[in-house]
Symmetry: D2
Subunit: 357 residues, 4 copies
């Protein structure tokens, strides 16, 4: 407990990697909203495995079936539940993992928490596969936000040691956002993107993995969303973001880089534009005192390198309490970051729509 | 909404910088616990203003009065409410700020959110002063955690561009923790500490400010605390941490630095020690899949430089909708980080005790 | 919002009468619990339609499919989701109801709340059919409570104007509870039961309906469960009980009848039995100050007569804004009370297990 | 846990009968609302002790001090905290009660729950005195509801065995509501009121107590408030209502009386009035499917006779585990019902405003 997020929009995620299905129940959607299922499908495809060489070979349609809340493609106001069947399941791949936890994976903590009865197959409820229903919820929220004139997009700013260009935090255009949402490998600097792909490919050949940083923005947000202390926009996004496996850090605006600056260098001067109050720079990432300022919301999430690697590692036998060697077989992404881009957008969209609702 | 945090222990913070009082209501404390008021007082003193040259000159006793929940110093099981009177209030200092928001402060977003009726005096409910009741709650939780064999301590690892030594994430001793808890300026490297103080002093002289990074650990945590997806230890600490003013980033274990490592470099090998499963390294910061591994919990919070600086800045007149110059007077910390150390400990203690409870 | 109940055990119900499926997601079950699926099936059968002449003719297998949280019939600690397909759906029966709300049914308020997009078929999410997933959750909780030595049972004490014998609130035996749990028509006075069935039959012949009162008990509860003010056992049971369609009243212990008594007549004297403190009478229904006393928990729920009746009634055309006559066709229970008995047990079990957990 | 109620408006109550103060923290009030403190004072006076012969002799000013959230009498958007000092405290009156629980009071369950450290003085946090901060919150919500055109009023329909006239559920006028709000002893039938007062007086002379039923209405509610299943208006009012000490039952509309009626007798026919849909009768109490219909909201709460009576009763010594006799001294209401009328209004107002917000 708890796999439920949100106050006004409650998103409950369920399922394990190898259970009959995974899914999401969303309580609090408005009635009368026609979900663009084609667009939702395109969004889910960006997260889906098996799309290209740098992702796991597990191929699944990942088409959600809507069990409730939708009548003829239109929300009816009742909780919407969508499920995705787990079809391409090779549980045998994981049998050896029951006794030997993969380093830096949740295998060990799942064992401590849920004991022998845990669902160890494919990482159980800790599997990255659970981000599929997260993206179903997020994809719907993205469409609802668009109605309010709010757009959300994320891209990769770092893979391993290769950096790409970050957003210009003051000027992000709708067209730039649309381009990123359609990109197979979303980066602002195409050449950096090539080097990133090479980095991933090299890691894969080495039986190893790499991490990365995803930067996300939301534009069109009205000023005044969020609350002080525990219910700020930062708190609420962070509270959901660490739900994406492998996220180990989050920063808003200048984030950790603000530390090396003086106040006079990090502060964002206000000015009048038309009748609006804006800031000339946006080191605050669109949030002051937990509340949106009307400038673009900007945050970054750090993903550690995928812990499942082919290289031999030191681990233990839980039953025999002795040190053993482990070489993880099965299908794993050498880098989870590209597929995590829509997940970050999904989290941002869910958190923002929950605040707006 | 909402100034309430927690599931099993509900901490509700109230008050504004210049309201009659600030305080906290804590629901869910066990009955029969004798609060060490002396120790709590010492803890609060670490956060209190006016303790030394690098903090604001505002001096307040900040002694909490317990209105409920405590009988003869012992918790009775009813909600505990503690209030701190706001005595040394010079509201006049802030009158000019009603119309001119301080850059990168919450003045502007408070205006958008609460309009003309907002309490603009001293930052209202966005004031760092609200961390005093946070520390009352945190100080009590620290004592309750100690009963369970859990110790929490934080220190400064960066001020401006000066770095100090981080924790050895595998070996943190009780004596090291006790030393930090008593230190006037908690750092592991005393010489770095001197340079940090110099950095703060220089910024002060320049009418400017600096930020920093606080690292926090918790040792003695049992493995198995926390939950997958939205209720992981990381999610819950992050959700509270951004409640401390000026926090703009948080990372666990290797955090953002993990990005530059291969999986084989970032993974923590398991091994058997006695009958326990431990990891040889602790890049995961004591949390795997949102759940404690039994290794020390390690996280870092980035604080931006204090936005209130004496230097002249560009701002706007909200009423006249025109650009103006602003020079903030009043009493402000050139660096909030030293006083934020107990606040970070408080947040960690509240989040962890809430999970344990 | 919200179809989610509970603090430590979160029960989220979804589905509409004619959606592809209805179901429940239960977050917070312990791992390692083997659900007795046979027993759960028997429990669900007590609520299922088409079991006997006094219930609707709609026949459905109502067998839950477990999509997550269960591995080989044993809970794994992840959220458990069970769905029941809606197979025997005759939406055509309801077409006329889109424009003409049934008196005292939720048709009108659903229209106001969710507009034209509401799922009006069969009452949508307001349908009594949603108590099926409620009973899935309740049936599992009943099994978990049994492990703790706690038994829950309900029976009918009134149908129309026919009364049956209530529980002896001081002495309720396990065998009495087991008998009720297996009874086709659970009453303590078999002859009253016959008269009740006759009352239902008469109403049916008249194209009319009758209501009733269900009394529920829980024995084996430890003293000390629940909390003062808003989180008492009474508050929490009541908060869930009104989730069962047609419930319009709830009372604990002597309830409304206590009003006519003096304090000296209604108070329950304490006495020592063995080393325990007990009360000689149990007019408090096992709860004092919101907290269990260790005596049997007793409460009653009042069910209004089923609003769907064959008799012609006055209603309105929502589109034409004019008065019209309505005769409800389709399949409806002349009395929902017998099938509501397991629903009341389910609510009690969910609320109690949530408190215990 | 938990003394906090509400989703959009969070009301946290704290304090014990003999703690330094009792109070309430209200999170979620809009900014810019000028509280009519005179009107609030009048409302609190209706609940205050010592107002007339039928209430306890304990006299307290019960004037709330606003510690936060209010600037010059106007809400500023930050959590509002109000405290009432406990001044007229005679703890000695209760010393004997530490070991001997009063029958049907929370003394015993408080002992089980919180052990020796509980605050037994005056009933601790279970004291009816905690309804004072509840009324502070409720009084503010009543004023906020009035802005939306919603009025709430309660009156006494039964004391002991004396009945007074209930509301006409279809026609309740503003003037009737205003009259009740100002009445010293709010009843619709003045002669019944006289007999009720006599009933209370007789009980008092006998060293005994009587209970009663309070009926409450809200008019001006828009249709469409509330949600199906667990978040209906009935669920939410009931969840708060049992927080008032001595409440043992609640019913909406016809409530328990609906059981003896046929569907054709209990259903409320719809008709068109102007452009609105109304019902000719209002047996549903203004709620269908958990959602307001636009007709007056009507509910009743049953109060048991005050358990604290002067008559000698059987109880036990908790320490010696033996049966003893108990005669409660101290100041107690022979009938809590008159003072509970504003408490019921307060609960209704808080629940409704939370739903509206």
């Amino acid at each position: 407990m708890s796999s439920t997020y949100g106050r006004n929009l409650k998103v409950s995620i369920f399922g394990q990697s190898h259970s009959p299905a995974i899914g999401v129940c969303i309580d609090g959607l408005p009635s009368g909203f026609k979900i663009d299922l084609q667009e939702l499908g395109n969004f889910l495809k960006r997260r889906a495995p098996g799309q290209n060489s740098h992702s796991t070979a597990r191929k699944e349609a990942d088409e959600p079936e809507f069990l409730s809340g939708l009548v003829d493609g239109v929300t009816c106001g009742a909780p919407l539940t969508a499920v995705i069947r787990n079809t391409d399941v090779r549980s045998g791949d994981y049998d050896s993992l029951k006794d030997i936890p993969r380093p830096s994976h949740a295998d060990f903590t799942a064992y401590i928490k849920n004991g022998e009865s845990r669902d160890f197959r494919g990482g159980g409820e800790f599997s990255g596969r659970l981000t599929a229903p997260l993206c179903v919820a997020g994809g719907i929220c993205l469409q609802l936000l668009k109605l309010e004139g709010i757009s959300v997009a994320a891209h990769i700013v770092k893979i391993g040691n290769v950096n790409s260009q970050p957003f210009d935090p003051v000027n992000i255009s709708e067209s730039e956002i649309r381009r990123l949402q359609k990109a197979e490998f979303p980066v602002l600097d195409a050449q950096a993107g090539e080097r990133m792909l090479a980095e991933i490919e090299t890691a894969k050949k080495d039986g190893d993995s790499v991490g990365g940083i995803i930067e996300c923005c939301a534009i069109g947000l009205p000023a005044g969303l969020g609350d002080p202390i525990f219910d700020g926009v930062e708190n609420r996004i962070a509270a959901a973001l660490f739900g994406i496996p492998a996220v180990k850090g989050v920063e808003f605006g200048n984030g950790f880089a603000a530390v090396g600056l003086r106040g006079s260098e990090n502060n964002d001067a206000f000015y009048i534009e038309g009748n609006s109050v804006r800031t000339r720079t946006n080191r605050h990432g669109g949030i002051l005192g937990g509340i949106t300022s009307g400038m673009p919301l900007i945050f970054r999430a750090a993903f550690k390198p995928t812990p499942s690697i082919a290289k031999e590692q030191d681990s233990v036998s839980l039953s025999r309490r002795e040190n053993v060697k482990l070489a993880v077989t099965g299908r794993h992404d050498p880098c989870i970051v590209p597929r995590a881009v829509p997940c970050v957008e999904a989290v941002a969209a869910i958190a923002l729509y929950d605040i707006l609702r």
